[in-house]
Assembly symmetry: none
Homo-oligomer: 152 residues x 2
DNA sequence: TAGATAAAGGTCAGGAAAGGTCAAAGACCA
DNA sequence: TGGTCTTTGACCTTTCCTGACCTTTATCTA
């Protein structure tokens, strides 16, 4: 049985696909009711699963007629690579790096094998270097590998 | 009377066979209860009996709805990986690493894209770390990436 | 139209539910 | 009796979920 978080994540992504659009608008309260949980659970899902690294933008408005809007980002490859390079920067945590991989994989830019390889290369367990340096090596490797893979 | 470790090992392997699949998912806590032992005993069994050496891959996740997943590798792979691991050793030069990649590519175990990624990851220009350490990181990464790639 | 009220969504800390690590004690065997 | 393999338990980290309390926005009403 998948966790609540996973169920909500899946549901939202399905809605996005089913609607054939890149925008989905929901009511936090209604969604929470649907899944029989507290509203802040929805925030948790959004914060952990719909981040920019993973290719989503979340906007919202409070008050009467409030809403939460989830936008799936789409860019062409060259733009994407530039953007990736910038967002990786000189140093990157494992968590953020994994978000990027997930995102690329979901878009079909990385197949399962490739994702696994990259994943292995950025894992702290494999890098085994102390912290400020580790995140810097990871950033360099990730950028180089993505360039090798995506940038003909 | 076989040791606890052996009992658990046997039980897990039986489950793997019985399920007719190469993947088995368990809860550490439940298993420990079943065998009336501390949970960390399960880790010990996994560490000593379900290693890559012996043809297994173990994945896990913590937190709510956590799990431990044991994956049985294809028949001839463990042998292959053992050999690779030995030939890489604890430290490897860029030249020798490239030789290995070339060899694997020739054998068709690596396609062009994959080779490019690995190549990028082991390049001294991307690692950018001073020398004794660089070759050690390269060795760890190469082994981990190949394992990720070949260990379905 | 200013202020009250209702109707959203946001934040954050805490607790629960996993699994991980490590060192020390115990058991077994050569 | 020394060394290796097992077993245990204390403590740690990660992930998920909840609830109390806060802020923002729209709408209604005097």
């Amino acid at each position: 049985m998948p966790s609540l978080t996973e169920q909500i994540e899946t549901w939202l992504k399905e809605q996005l696909i089913r609607s054939r659009e890149n925008i989905l608008e929901i009511k936090r309260g209604e969604l929470a009711q649907e899944f029989d949980c507290v509203p802040s659970q929805v925030n948790y899902v959004l914060e952990t699963r719909f981040t920019v690294e993973r290719g989503y933008l979340v906007q919202s408005r409070r008050g009467g007629r409030g809403y939460i809007r989830i936008i799936k980002l789409e860019m062409d490859l060259p733009e994407r690579l530039r953007h990736l390079r910038d967002s990786i920067g000189p140093s990157i945590s494992q968590g953020r790096a994994e978000g990027i991989l997930l995102h690329l994989a979901e878009e079909g830019l990385l197949n399962r094998r490739e994702k696994r390889v990259l994943q292995a290369a950025i894992s702290r367990d494999n890098l085994k270097v102390d912290l400020p340096l580790r995140d810097m090596i990871r950033a360099r490797l990730l950028k180089a590998m993505l360039l090798a893979l995506l940038g003909e």
